[in-house]
Symmetry: C2
Subunit: 468 residues, 2 copies
């Protein structure tokens, strides 16, 4: 276990140097022997470091010469520009498109680039089953009874103690559990919005949030968003007089994978608090960072309790368990009442199982492995896209999470591409899904939550052909 940790740490350090440009394309890396001496590690551990970096396509071997930093083709792929949603808000819900794409979920005859969660092959299924069995023992009879309204105590304790790592400093009493992440967002919107109110969001953003707001009669104001640093603060400042509520995904949001810098998070929290606007923070991807450490949250800078921090294990561990939570700050009483009225309580046994998994240390090991895989996938995808997609293709540079955002030539309509791709058993998520406006028609989201394989590579190649 500790050896696992060691080689991951060292590999992450080198990966960070490559990404930040300290090590440049073509640079020679130290030999296995030198790495052993530098870090006081065994030959085997040193070799694993290099294998890991190779798996992520960050380095390449030259026979009899050693390891070199890859001449990364993704450097050639430009970033999409900051989005420019129209302030006129001429909405049209992409319901039909969403339905069409979602109806493919669970089909195992397709390559699901449209997937919004990690492939089940990346989840610790056997260990989770053991936790469920253990949970029925721990709970004895209580698993069949209504649980505490606020949710499983052990789970809340684990989430609270993990919040130290990102400056949340939560207590178990600050948390309310929910039936998954959507349920958390749904309670927050219900508690704070009324029909006709306006809610600000990133653009592009998660289709589920657009639909949720729509189903509750909220007006969505989409705001310009940078593919690396997230929502544009100036745009938010200007919008403040017009909005009642704000929903952000500051860490590795889908589809962009952007991460708001700490100073932006701090500024946004202060700005909204000053105007009495509650901030719903969806942090469901926060644990999937590719960098050296977990990013902070807006909640980390919340002095007045106006941030409702929401998360879940749906993107990291067990989508089907429906285990999520809210740290609702000053809105705790409203959230508790809504939970009582709409749900009474959450499912006891899955919460206990997740609590068990979190408390065992297995979660951190699993996350470490999952992050490396996603990071490696990202590199593989970008290599393949550089090779197979049209010259003019732009891609996001996700700093974590499960999504890669691809911007194609204006002449390519990804709604039409979807239909063509489906004939080849490929499902993509067209860009129009992620907005209420007529934009992103030449964009798409690709999931990097599938395990990389020659099959995936050849499907990307095929997808590229369909664009020509």
């Amino acid at each position: 276990m500790s050896r696992d940790f060691l080689y991951t740490e060292i590999a992450n350090g080198i990966a960070g140097q490559i990404r930040s440009g300290v090590l440049k394309a073509g640079d020679r890396l130290p030999s296995v022997r030198v790495l052993c001496q530098q870090h006081g590690i065994s030959m085997n551990t040193a070799k694993r470091v290099f294998w890991e970096l190779e798996a992520q396509s960050l380095i390449e071997t030259k026979p009899r010469s050693g390891y070199f930093v890859s001449r990364l083709p993704y450097r050639r792929l430009p970033l999409p520009e900051v989005s420019k949603p129209s302030p006129a808000r001429n909405h049209k819900e992409p319901d039909e498109l969403i339905r069409k794409v979602y109806s493919n979920m669970g089909r195992d005859d397709l390559t699901l680039f449209s997937l919004g969660a990690p492939s089940s092959t990346l989840l610790p299924l056997a260990k989770l089953n053991k936790e469920i069995v253990q949970a029925t023992r721990e709970l004895q009879g209580c698993g069949a009874e209504y649980e505490l309204l606020q949710g499983n105590l052990k789970l809340r304790r684990m989430i609270a103690s993990r919040s130290l790592a990102w400056g949340g400093n939560l207590m178990e009493s600050d948390l309310v559990t929910t039936s998954g992440g959507m349920n958390a967002l749904s309670f927050c919107m219900m508690a704070l919005g009324k029909p006709g109110d306006t809610i600000a969001m990133e653009s592009p953003c998660y289709p589920g949030s657009l639909q949720l707001a729509g189903s509750m009669g909220l007006k969505v104001l989409e705001l310009p968003t940078h593919p690396v640093t997230g929502i544009e603060i100036d745009a938010l400042k200007k919008a403040v007089p017009k909005i009642d509520l704000c929903l952000l995904v500051p860490n590795f949001n889908t589809p962009l994978g952007s991460c708001m810098p700490d100073e932006n998070k701090k500024e946004v929290v202060a700005l909204l608090a000053r105007h009495g606007i509650p901030l719903i923070e969806d942090d469901i991807y926060g644990d999937l960072y590719f960098g050296p450490q977990r990013p902070k949250c807006c909640k980390s800078f919340d002095e007045d309790g106006t941030v409702l921090w929401c998360s879940a294990v749906s993107k990291t561990l067990a989508p089907g368990y429906r285990v999520g939570w809210i740290a609702p700050g000053r809105y705790k009483e409203q959230i508790l009442k809504l939970k009582l009225v709409h749900a009474i309580s959450s499912s006891a046994v899955t919460q206990e199982a997740v609590a068990g998994f979190l408390s065992s240390g297995r979660y951190d090991n699993h996350l470490r492995r999952l992050r490396l895989t996603l990071q490696g996938n990202y590199q593989h995808y970008v290599h393949a896209i550089a090779e197979y997609f049209p010259e003019s293709t732009k891609t996001s540079r996700p700093q974590g999470g499960l999504a890669l955002w691809v911007e194609l030539d204006k002449t390519i309509n990804t709604g039409e591409l979807f239909d063509k791709a489906m004939k080849q058993k490929i499902s993509i998520a067209p860009g129009r899904m992620f907005t209420l406006q007529d934009q992103f028609e030449n964009c798409m989201r690709l999931s990097i939550g599938l395990p990389w394989s020659d099959e995936v590579r050849s499907k990307l190649k095929l997808l590229g052909k369909l664009m020509m």
Copy 2:
């Protein structure tokens, strides 16, 4: 198993004759030997029949004389009258009272007459745990993945096949699963109501439904309700022009335990369908019948798909599993969209476990035992109330379910009684909880879902003293 079935059947037959008046108080029953001959059963089985009837206080032994029909004191307790909620609708939500009463849930130092679910000692906890373990095996990895939007297929099949017994004739494709019964009602109200709409309900009715409607901005129109036959059809007819939506609990609703006769169900369904008013039918107590067979539902008479039949295992099997469902008729697409938007999917493992339990035949055995216990409890409670409560006390005559409704002298305020009782470690559910109007202040609901014991009897005695 089949012997269990046999003695229960025979005991139910005799119980039915007693309740219907074929056998009268003081009548002598056949001897053990005669019963053996009549039914071709063993002495042991015959004895169990009598023990069962005795446990329910339906019969009593006279030494060396045999078994006699009890001189049932509940015959002396009059029924409450049909409720007369004001059509003026001057609402005041009993939120504070509900919060006070609900905050006692889970406290094991209290006698919880306020309980809204069967005591966990009446649930098959060990068998449920085994089903959970089995479910993780059946699902293999899939338990951790997002499930089908419509819900677990095996569970929907089991519910569909059970619907034959009450004339539902549902198919698995007619059903959508939910995270418990409240979640089912919540989706139905969200799908069909908009703020400002009026929803008709029984009076008194389930506090959760009042709160749910309130939280969604619906106006509640409480209608006169008969303690035995449920909602008054004439009142509903008059209300029809004013309502947009109707929520009924036709079978053994809480707090009254009334059961609408089939002809009333049929008439209500036709009436509402004629006026285009959707009917949300909460059938969560339907399996807890004291009579010889499961009653039909409004859904049994639904020709146009305007009835949304909702139920769950929360009152019969496993409150904490949060497994419920809807047969939404013509509103299926709306319900599916809401489920997608607010929840994505339900928890897979608890659904699979319930499906396993239902498919094994264990559910019917469990239900048989539970019904006998509840029926016996009802008799015990009525005996004790006749003995210990003031002369003027009236009680409902539940035909199933978990609740007994008690009407006290007008001078007794059950809100005040609650405070007094709490000092004696007794929690009751004051009548004011079950209405938005100023009525039922001299009423209360007592749970018959606690296992009967000398402790329970003495607490009822104490409760009676507090009224004097």
